[in-house]
Symmetry: C2
């Protein structure tokens, strides 16, 4: 024991009657130790409550570990930008631990490019991986592969039904849908809640996972329970053809003149902000998700009433840390599923956000 009462590898070695080399081998179980001495060492570690000194360890390790993050190519102001920022920030803060981070980008509309990114990532032998499962099946395949290779991976924002992930950081999606319904209908009587418009984004349903699905069920369940009479209408817009959005909405509005309640479950409520502004309805309530700058702007100018926001940046940040802790210290995190808290943003609290 040193003067701070810390137990060192030498203490363990002495206690177990072996050398520090042997202790090191069992700590990192890389074999070449007889069953008998391994047992003695483990016993000594247990009794002395030995924990390797992270700093000595980092210092002595030659190899730098790499944490990879698979991300769709994004442009400024998009949801993914925040994930990316959190990843960078996390990478910075673990860089002193000899852990480096690397992003692998792919085209979110092209599975082949996803495969390419995966191949490139695996080739660079990451020690940990961060995933946001855009392509459901492809991601599941990757998960299997990572498990075979013994590489821990964590889901951020959305998780899949998959037994082997190391951790998950995100908001409770289903609950966020319920919360959305509750905020939308707050202080309203059933007769005031007759029609709700859900604006959705058209996408190729074949391959991609639908991250808004859970949110929609939460929303629908709440509405069923509390406002069973309410009709939920859907409009589909195409984000790739922004110029077509007004027409789509015009057409819809022709049939449903009274759009008093409007909801979007993804991060792009700002796409319809202009149209809403041009077609005001007194007392309309509009709820969207995620604190993208464009969305905040829509709240400030009173087009969107409420945004339900998660802290994506914190999520990836924490994911990086969890992985680095695990890689470096074999430390499992206390919680596998980390549901992080949601913010309700209105124009009243926005300026303090």
């Amino acid at each position: 024991m040193d003067k701070n009462g810390k137990v060192t590898i030498i203490d363990v070695a002495r206690k177990a009657g072996v050398s520090k080399g042997t202790v090191d081998r069992v700590v990192h179980n890389r074999g070449e130790v007889s069953r008998k001495s391994a047992e003695k060492v483990r016993k000594a570690i247990e009794e002395l409550q030995y924990r390797p000194n992270l700093y000595a360890s980092v210092l002595a390790t030659r190899k730098a570990h790499m944490i990879a993050c698979l991300l769709p190519i994004f442009s400024k102001g998009e949801f993914w930008e925040k994930m990316h920022a959190g990843f960078l920030r996390g990478g910075e803060s673990v860089s002193t631990l000899n852990v480096v981070t690397q992003v692998f980008l792919f085209d979110q509309y092209d599975p082949d490019s996803f495969h390419a990114a995966v191949a490139e990532m695996l080739a660079s032998e990451p020690s940990g991986v961060i995933l946001q499962p855009l392509f459901k099946n492809e991601t599941l395949e990757l998960a299997v592969r990572l498990r075979e290779l013994g590489i821990p991976y964590v889901y951020v924002d959305t998780k899949l039904e998959d037994p082997g992930y190391f951790a998950y950081y995100g908001m409770p999606k289903y609950k966020s849908g319920r919360l959305c319904a509750r905020m939308l209908t707050e202080r309203l009587d059933p007769e005031e809640v007759r029609d709700v418009t859900v604006v959705r984004i058209t996408r190729d349903k074949s391959r991609r996972s639908d991250p808004t699905m859970e949110r929609r069920s939460g929303f629908n369940d709440f509405m069923d329970e509390h406002f069973p009479e309410c009709r939920i209408h859907q409009v589909f817009i195409d984000p790739n053809k922004p110029e077509s959005i007004p027409d789509t909405l015009d057409a819809f509005a022709a049939d449903h003149p009274d759009m008093k309640m409007v909801v979007m479950f993804n991060s792009r409520i700002h796409l319809i902000a202009d149209w809403l502004k041009a077609h005001p309805v007194k007392g309309r309530r509009v709820i969207g998700f995620d604190n993208m700058e464009k969305n905040l702007e829509a709240v400030r100018s009173d087009i969107v009433s409420i945004l339900i926001a998660e802290h994506v940046e914190d999520q990836t940040f924490k994911a990086v840390h969890a992985l680095s802790d695990y890689i470096l210290m074999h430390k499992s995190i206390p919680m596998r599923d980390n549901y992080m808290h949601m913010d309700i943003l209105t124009k009243y609290n926005l300026e303090y956000y």
Copy 2:
């Protein structure tokens, strides 16, 4: 440079044409270096962008640093408990860096006990200190002392007019008062906002700082600007005699039967929850501060409409980290004043908090 491209002290020494001992001396400016070589070393450090390796440094340093926190004695459920929790959590997370934390408790109603705690703290030679300035003058004296000793200190929750603090973590108090007024009057017309009751806590004004003062000015300013006709009444209750609270409020209510808007600026709105419950008023709005469990309970049972909450725990946590970074790596934090974000809690979003 090692294989990871990191610049080491040896690189600097070579470049400056001195030995690593000399470089080390200038890095920690502990003298015994000629002006000439010091200059060469500084230049080399600058050019090579040398940053000492934290881990090698921690490993080599014998001394364990101590971060102290001055806190009033608290009981379960109190505001201070959260500060304490954040401090512990922060302490845990820096303990691997050979940094230990220690709490020094005092009686918040007894300046002598504060002095005793300060003396004890200084005697144990802390490398950094965390303060919540309950006693204003005493804290300012301490601040002077700490500056003389070259010990960095950070304010949490409340800060004083004092040039020398290292950092501050808290919510913008003045703004929080404005926010309170805004939420209280949201969607109301001036004629609906005639009388507001502010419940305050009696205290010895002589020595203690009044942490709610700024909040009150924010509140008052907002009301002046938007509802100049509104009368703001004050009731004073004594937290040390909870049994007297009902009488005090009864007496007040006799003169002001229509208590439709009630506000408290400290964390103890729960003290008047029972009375409010027993004296319901239709459409009453009650706003308090801080997410103490008892306050949350009052929100759940619909007695308190809104709580404005800061993340005290995060504040102390970050304070510990900022200090440890500074102590260990001479790293100044980017922001001296860190205004952290406020949450608006209603019974609608509480369950997701």
